[in-house]
Symmetry: C2
Subunit: 334 residues, 2 copies
């Protein structure tokens, strides 16, 4: 198993839930190192009755801070120190539930980008019956068509690595199925993805897809810019919350005899869709395994994120991405 | 009640389901005129055993046709003739389940835009416990910050007109809550919406909102560009389908005793969230009441859309928008 560095100071419930999550993961056999303020971490470890190695970091980058500026101004912040453990070969992956911008900046500036990647992207997994990988889901609000091609390659490697999909079906998120729909980004992106399909035997570009294709099973990977990807992801979260709320209202209206069954189903759906328990999302395209967790992560989500980071390291996610990009760069562009 | 012109030729299930929906609405007392190919419509009316006035139109604009070009080339298409009935005062509203682009083009070029509106927008209603109006949900893929201000005004009038909300809470769809998040559109839009809030006593700009705010009850109107709005809306639809599929799977895993209750709840949620039964969405900002229906609309959805169009005419939606825009244009801009 790999060694996972955990930013103990990032997230809405840091450091308590982060440390508790790290202890859960360690209990499952994962090798975890906490990174952050020792004076804050040690008493919590004592309180929780656990032991874990701690690497001290004296500073923290907050949610409201400017990511790249903070990185320069606070070189001893927990996220930078966690990234440096990976860079220096002292850890195989790092995770953070803090500012996405800061985690992304730390990954890009401390680990570096892989050759062929201009825009590392966040790859989120949508829990459809066959999981769908959506990227970019928030790292890059504005992108160019060629970045959509990078996202397609990154997502394809992840679909192969985690789900054994071959060939991987890639769709372009759009507002209609016909070519020519959408903004200039989608119109030019459609052409470039069609060219990628022609030169890459491991993926199939299925064309434009819409949000409703989440449920149709026709795609493994969806590519879009980080603005639309993030909107889609959070709208899915909001819709799930809205349905859960509505379900509670409807349960009150059911016959009393039907209520226990309805509650049992609601609980089953909650377990399946609770994004606070899905752990996190890989940041793909940098020279190291990086998992970004939801800011609201509780201990269970953090332990899942650590498991995910470990799995990424274990399966050689970064080497696979590197190899694929190299092959793609050498392939003739049509 | 108002007189509603119905494009009988637009939609995946036209003309049969459109005509059947029109008959349903007429049965409820709505005054409906069908517009389209008489030779196609009359036998269906006979088959369904109903009578409705028909205005003949010899052409149809399809889903794949270029909207504005088709409008010029096919002046006798059903959507153009339906729009002209409104322009000429022979109907008070029109509805179409055909190409959104063509309906939008017909509305803009045949009815005209209201003074102060550069970009008419589609206002969709999200069935939260307190309904939320989302615009633009697909008419304008690319917009400028000042168009977000127009959308805020249009959505506010609709929230007042339909739901009696006062003051209307308007949010800007974004990828984080803090000002400064998002693309240039959102950063500049945030400033302009803040200025609108200062000069317009009837609305409150609550700042950036995320997809998950669909369930928090903190907003009445969400503004965004037509690309992101459409993605959000269809992702919500896709998520609902995905949850319904998942619910069916989970029901198989429940104790047999719990299954009837679970099925009853699933049915209740289906009724509540089935977008095929929500009817349609108002196109706001043109000089007439226009309702755009989902392409997959069945007869029930069409009858709902007719009811919606009639309600818009009845409540003076267009005059209210016109008055509000005039007041806004006269107000000092801060």
């Amino acid at each position: 198993m790999g060694r996972v560095a955990v930013d103990a100071m990032g997230g809405d419930h840091a450091p308590l839930e982060i440390i508790a999550g790290a202890l859960l993961a360690a209990g499952d056999g994962h090798e975890v190192t906490l990174v952050g303020d020792e004076a804050a971490i040690t008493p919590i470890l004592d309180q929780l009755g656990g032991e874990l190695p701690v690497v001290h970091a004296s500073e923290v980058i907050g949610m409201g801070d400017h990511p790249t500026r903070s990185l320069r101004e606070r070189p001893d912040s927990s996220i930078v120190v966690a990234a440096d453990l990976v860079r220096d070969g002292k850890a195989d992956a790092f995770i953070s539930a803090g500012s996405t911008g800061a985690a992304m900046a730390a990954a890009v500036f401390r680990l570096g980008r892989l050759k062929g990647v201009q825009r590392p992207a966040i790859a989120s997994v949508i829990p459809a019956p066959k999981p769908i990988i959506l990227l970019d889901s928030g790292a890059n609000p504005d992108v160019k068509p060629e970045h959509l091609v990078e996202f397609a390659v990154l997502g394809t490697v992840m679909a192969e690595t985690y789900y054994g999909v071959d060939p991987v079906r890639v769709g372009l998120l759009n507002i209609g199925e016909e070519p020519g729909k959408g903004r200039e980004l989608e119109r030019v992106g459609w052409d470039q993805l069609t060219a990628l399909d022609a030169r890459d035997p491991l993926l199939t570009f299925v064309g434009n897809v819409e949000g409703r294709d989440l449920a149709t099973g026709k795609i493994d990977v969806i590519v879009t810019d980080g603005y639309a990807g993030n909107i889609a992801l959070k709208t899915a979260e909001g819709t799930i919350s809205l349905m859960a709320l509505s379900a509670l209202e409807e349960i009150q209206r059911l016959d009393e005899a039907h209520r226990p069954g309805a509650m049992a189903m609601l609980e089953a759906l909650r377990r399946r869709f609770d994004y606070e328990h899905t752990g996190g999302a890989h940041l793909l395209g940098t020279n190291g395994v990086v998992v970004i967790s939801h800011g609201s992560s509780n201990r269970s989500a953090i332990s899942q994120a650590i498991r995910m980071a470990d799995e990424g390291a274990d399966r050689g996610l970064v080497d696979r991405v590197r190899d694929r990009l190299a092959a793609d760069l050498e392939a003739p562009r049509t």
